[in-house]
């Protein structure tokens, strides 16, 4: 078992964990975190594949590395947008839920000028 196998299997397990969390956790913030975990697993798979493409002088194939860096930034932007949506939902409709049947309690807009 080498580096690639160990971390490859670890990445596969992280993807599965994240997928389970996205489906089975009811709270929206938990879903966002689970989605990030899933993404992290996918990035690790990229890292493992990059590691296999190592050549003399370069420890890891630079193309998957660059894709992962771009992916990390995009995933962070998406997370920030999701959190902003969630906080706004919480501010306008009370406890944040994805359950469409849940009773909403309208609150006065607490942002004054």
């Amino acid at each position: 078992m080498g580096t690639v196998t160990v971390f490859g299997l670890c990445a596969a397990a992280v993807v599965g964990l994240g997928l389970y969390g996205v489906i089975a956790n009811p709270q929206p913030l938990r879903k966002i975190i689970a989605f990030n975990l899933l993404g992290s697993g996918v990035f690790l798979l990229f890292g493992v594949i990059g590691r296999r493409g190592a050549v003399a002088g370069i420890g890891s194939d630079p193309v998957p590395q660059a894709l992962v860096i771009t992916g990390v930034v995009v995933a962070f932007s998406a997370t920030a947008l999701a959190i902003a949506l969630l906080l706004r939902l919480f501010d306008t409709a009370g406890p944040a839920t994805l359950d469409s049947d849940a009773p909403t309690r309208p609150r006065p807009d607490r942002f004054g000028g």
Binding site: G59, R110, F111, G112
Partner: protein
């Protein structure tokens, strides 16, 4: 030398894992937030040793970044989690 350093990383990582188990169990949120502090010391030590073992000189830069940013989660916790208590005047007022 490499074997010794690898064993040292393994040992520190084991200590880190034990500490994480103890901290994440709680009982309070303040205990849990300490996890980031724990990684800010133990994780950085492991990272520095690992960089020497694996021959990745840039690990020092990664450790520098972690040392700068590991505190941030704790600060966010103190600021937002306890704004109601006006701890040390470090509260955030939501509305003016």
């Amino acid at each position: 030398m490499t074997e010794f350093l690898t064993a040292a990383v393994g040992f520190i990582l084991a200590m880190l894992a034990l500490g994480l188990v103890s901290i994440l169990r709680g009982p309070g949120d303040a205990d849990r937030v300490m996890a980031t502090q724990l990684i800010g010391t133990g994780g950085i030590a492991a990272l520095l040793l690992l960089g020497t073992v694996a021959g990745v000189p840039a690990a020092v830069d990664v450790a520098l970044t972690l040392a700068l940013l590991a505190t941030f989660a704790s600060i966010a916790f103190v600021k937002k989690g306890l704004s109601r208590f006006e701890a040390d005047g470090t509260a955030s007022t939501e509305n003016e």
